[in-house]
C-alpha cells in the first residue's frame, strides 16, 4: 500500500509539474467545445427546426375534420398547409409528387356526419333490436405521400390520425349512449363525458418513432468534446510512460521491488481522476457558461449513475489505449504523433466533429468502429432519450473491453530493454 501511495503521489506530481501539458488537457477541450458549439448552433437549429411540409384539405367541415387538423398542427415535425376546398385532388397529387409536400391528407366531405350516424345507429341497435345494425361504409381519409418520405414520418402521421379518429369515435359513442340512457331512465342524467382528451399526440412520441435522435448544439458538442478530452489524455499518458523510460527512472523502478502492473495501475488511477474532472468541467461549461453565450443550456437527464458509468468506461478505454501506445511506441516523438493522430481520427470517425446522423450511410456504419462513437451514443441515450442503464450498458461494455484489451497488450509488452 505504501508502494502504491508513493507511485500515486509521484504520478500526481509529474502531472502537476507539467503545467503546459495540464493546460492542454483542460483548456483545449474547453476552447473547442465553446467554439464548436457556437459555430454549429445555427446549423443544429436549422436541422432541428426543419419541418416537413404537409398539406391538408379538410372537406369535412365537421368536428372530426377539425380535430384531425388540430392534432396535426401539434406535431412539431410538420408544417401544415391548409388547402382550399376548390383544389382538385389531381392537383394535390401532383404537388406531392413534385415534392412540394412530403404528404397530403384529404379528409372527405361528410366524414363527421357519417361517423356520427354510424355510431348512433350501432348504439341504438344494441339498445333496440328492431333497429338494424349499421352497414359500415368506412369513410376514406386519403393520405398521399412522396415516394421519398421516410417510413418513420408516415408512421408518425398515421398513428396521429388513428388516435384522433378513435378518440372521436369514443366521444360520439359516449354521447349517443347518454342519449339512449336518458330515454330509458326516468331520472334525468347529464351528459357522459370523458374527462379531457384521452389520447394526446405529442412531439415526443413523434421523436421516439423516428430512429434518429437529433441533438441541439449543446447536446452534441458537450459530450462529443468531453469524449475528445478524455481520449486526448492518451498523448499525455503515453508521453509520460515513455519519458519515464527515456529518463531512466523506469529502469531504476524495474530493479526495485515494484511490480510493473502496480506501476501501470497507479497511472490508470491518476488519469482516471483527470478524465473525470475533465468531464465535470465540460458539464459545468454546458450547464452554466453556454446559456451566457446564448447557447442552449445542457440538461443532464436523470440518470446520474449512468453518466458516471459512461464517463468512467470511456476514461478506462482511453487510459488502456494510452498505456498500449506508451508501451508499444519506441520514442516519445512516435507516441505523441501516433497518439494525437489516432485520437483525431477516432474523433472524426466517431462523430465528434460531424455528428454521425449527418454522415453518409456508409460512414455511419464505419463510425461504429470508433470507441468515441460508443461513448457518444451512450451519452446521447442518456441526455436525449432520457434512458437509464438499459440504454448504455452495451456501449460501456464495449468501451471497457477495448480498454482492457489495450491495457493487457501494453502490459504484455513489458520493456526490459
Amino acid at each position: 500500500m505504501r508502494r502504491f501511495a508513493a507511485l500515486l503521489y509521484k504520478d500526481f506530481l509529474l502531472l502537476v509539474r507539467d503545467k503546459a501539458g495540464l493546460a492542454l488537457l483542460y483548456l483545449m477541450p474547453l476552447v473547442l467545445v465553446a467554439l464548436m458549439a457556437y459555430l454549429q448552433n445555427d446549423t443544429f437549429k436549422a436541422i432541428l427546426e426543419n419541418k416537413l411540409p404537409v398539406a391538408v384539405q379538410n372537406l369535412d367541415k365537421g368536428e372530426v375534420g377539425d380535430a384531425i387538423c388540430k392534432s396535426l398542427e401539434k406535431v412539431q415535425l410538420f408544417s401544415i398547409d391548409q388547402l382550399a376546398d376548390s383544389v382538385p385532388i389531381k392537383d394535390v397529387e401532383r404537388r406531392v409528387a413534385n415534392g412540394d409536400y412530403q404528404m397530403a391528407l384529404i379528409i372527405p366531405e361528410g366524414l363527421s356526419e357519417q361517423l356520427q350516424n354510424c355510431v348512433a345507429q350501432s348504439i341504438q341497435h344494441t339498445f333496440n333490436d328492431s333497429i338494424p345494425a349499421p352497414v359500415i361504409a368506412s369513410s376514406k381519409v386519403t393520405l398521399l405521400t412522396d415516394p421519398t418520405t421516410k417510413n418513420s414520418f408516415m408512421a408518425t402521421l398515421s398513428s396521429s390520425l388513428n388516435e384522433q379518429i378513435t378518440t372521436m369515435q369514443t366521444d360520439l359513442m359516449l354521447q349517443e349512449i347518454s342519449l339512449q340512457v336518458a330515454q330509458l331512465s326516468p331520472m334525468p342524467i347529464g351528459e357522459i363525458k370523458l374527462p379531457g382528451k384521452v389520447v394526446e399526440v405529442e412531439q415526443r412520441v413523434a421523436q421516439l418513432n423516428t430512429d434518429r435522435l437529433i441533438p441541439n448544439a449543446t447536446q452534441h458538442n458537450v459530450p462529443a468534446w468531453g469524449l475528445f478530452a478524455i481520449f486526448f489524455i492518451v498523448v499525455s499518458l503515453a508521453g509520460n510512460i515513455i519519458k519515464e523510460r527515456e529518463e531512466g527512472s523506469f529502469l531504476r523502478l524495474l530493479a526495485m521491488p515494484c511490480s510493473f502492473t502496480l506501476y501501470l495501475i497507479s497511472k490508470v488511477a491518476v488519469y482516471l481522476v483527470i478524465c473525470l474532472t475533465q468531464v465535470l468541467l465540460m458539464a459545468a461549461v454546458g450547464c452554466w457558461l453556454f446559456p451566457l453565450l446564448g447557447l442552449p443550456a445542457l440538461s443532464l437527464g436523470t440518470c446520474w449513475s449512468g453518466l458516471l458509468m459512461v464517463s468512467v468506461s470511456a476514461a478506462l478505454a482511453a487510459i488502456g489505449f494510452g498505456v498500449a501506445i506508451g508501451q508499444l511506441a519506441r520514442t516519445s516523438q512516435q507516441a505523441s504523433v501516433f497518439g494525437a493522430i489516432s485520437v483525431v481520427i477516432m474523433a472524426a470517425l466517431g462523430g465528434v466533429w460531424i455528428p454521425q446522423f449527418v454522415m453518409p450511410k456508409f460512414m455511419q456504419i464505419v463510425s461504429m468502429c470508433s470507441p468515441m462513437n460508443w461513448g457518444l451514443s451512450a451519452y446521447y441515450n442518456l441526455l436525449l432519450r432520457g434512458s437509464g442503464w438499459e440504454g448504455i450498458w452495451w456501449q460501456c461494455l464495449l468501451l471497457l473491453t477495448f480498454g482492457a484489451v489495450c491495457f493487457f497488450v501494453g502490459r504484455g509488452k513489458e520493456r526490459r530493454l
Binding site: R2, R3, A5, A6, L7, Y9, K10, L13, L14, R17, D18, E244, E247, G248, S249, L251, R252, L253, L254, A255, M256, P257, C258, R416, L417
Partner: protein, 244 residues
C-alpha cells in the same frame, strides 16, 4: 558452492537483437560478500550489459547468474529488496525535487517516512548536498545529480550495491566525496559492484577486479596480485597490454 558468495556467474552470454557479436561472451565470475569489486573495460566492453543482467533488468541469452545463492531468472522477487542499483544515466525524475525523488524511491522500497528521512539526513551530510534537497533535479549540475542518483539506490541500505560508472563526468572534489562515501559503506559490510574505465581509481578502491574486452573476461583477481603477476607498473598498463 560457498554461502559467502554474493555473486556467482557461470558461462553468461548476452547477444542483443540484431547484434552481430555477443555483448557478453562466456563470462564466468564470482564475487564474495564484502568485496569491493571492479568490473573494468573500455567503452562498449559489456560492463553495463553485465550489470543489467545481474540486477534483472535484462535477460541473459544463456548462462546462470546467482545472487546470494538465488537464481536471477526465477527468484528475482526475493533478490530485489537486497540489492541497490545506481545506473550509469541519471535515473531520477527531473521535474521533481531531490527530496521528492528520494521520498518516492524510498516509498517504493516500502520504507516508512521516518526511515526515509533518517537516511536522507545521514547521506546528505556526508555527500554535502543538504541545501539542494528542495531543488528540482533538472536544475542541478552533473555532480549534484550524481550524488542524488547514488542516494536513491542506497535508501534501503542494500546488502549488495551495483554502481555503473558512479564517478564519470564530475570534478575531482565530488569524485573524492563519492569515493570516500563508498569506502565507508564497504567498510560497514556492503558488497559493492562497480564498473569503470578509470583504472587508477579502481586500483585504489577495489580488492577484486575483472577486466572485460569485447564481452570477454581477460583476467580477474586482486589488483595488486594481477599487476605483480604481469610484471607491470599498474592496472592501467596491464589493461593496455591485455588489449593489444
Amino acid at each position: 558452492m560457498s554461502k559467502d558468495l554474493a555473486i556467482e556467474i557461470s558461462h553468461l552470454f548476452k547477444t542483443y537483437r540484431d547484434a552481430d557479436r555477443p555483448a557478453v561472451n562466456d563470462l564466468s565470475l564470482s564475487v564474495e560478500q564484502g568485496d569491493f569489486f571492479g568490473l573494468l573495460g573500455a567503452n562498449g566492453a559489456g560492463k553495463t550489459t553485465t550489470l543489467s543482467i545481474l540486477c534483472g533488468l535484462i535477460k541473459s541469452s544463456s548462462g546462470e547468474v546467482r545472487l546470494f545463492d538465488k537464481d536471477v531468472n526465477t527468484q528475482l522477487k526475493e533478490i530485489k529488496p537486497m540489492i541497490g542499483v545506481v545506473p550509469q544515466e541519471y535515473a531520477l525524475y527531473p521535474e521533481l525535487t531531490a527530496l521528492e525523488n528520494l521520498q518516492f524511491f524510498g516509498g517504493v522500497y516500502g520504507l516508512e517516512k521516518k526511515q526515509i528521512a533518517e537516511q536522507i539526513e545521514g547521506m546528505t551530510d556526508i555527500l554535502q548536498v543538504k541545501d539542494l534537497l528542495n531543488k528540482r533535479i533538472a536544475r542541478m549540475s552533473g555532480g549534484e545529480k550524481r550524488r542524488f542518483n547514488l542516494m536513491a539506490g542506497l535508501l534501503h541500505r542494500p546488502k549488495l550495491l551495483f554502481l555503473d560508472e558512479p564517478t564519470v563526468g564530475i570534478d575531482v572534489k565530488s569524485q573524492q566525496i563519492i569515493i570516500d562515501f563508498l569506502r565507508e559503506l564497504n567498510r560497514e559490510g556492503m558488497t559493492i559492484i562497480y564498473t569503470s574505465h578509470l583504472m587508477a581509481e579502481a586500483e585504489t578502491l577495489c580488492n577484486h577486479v575483472a577486466v572485460m574486452v569485447q564481452g570477454r573476461k581477460l583476467c580477474d583477481g586482486c589488483p595488486s596480485a594481477l599487476v605483480a603477476e604481469a610484471g607491470v607498473a599498474n592496472l592501467h598498463e596491464l589493461c593496455l597490454n591485455l588489449m593489444k
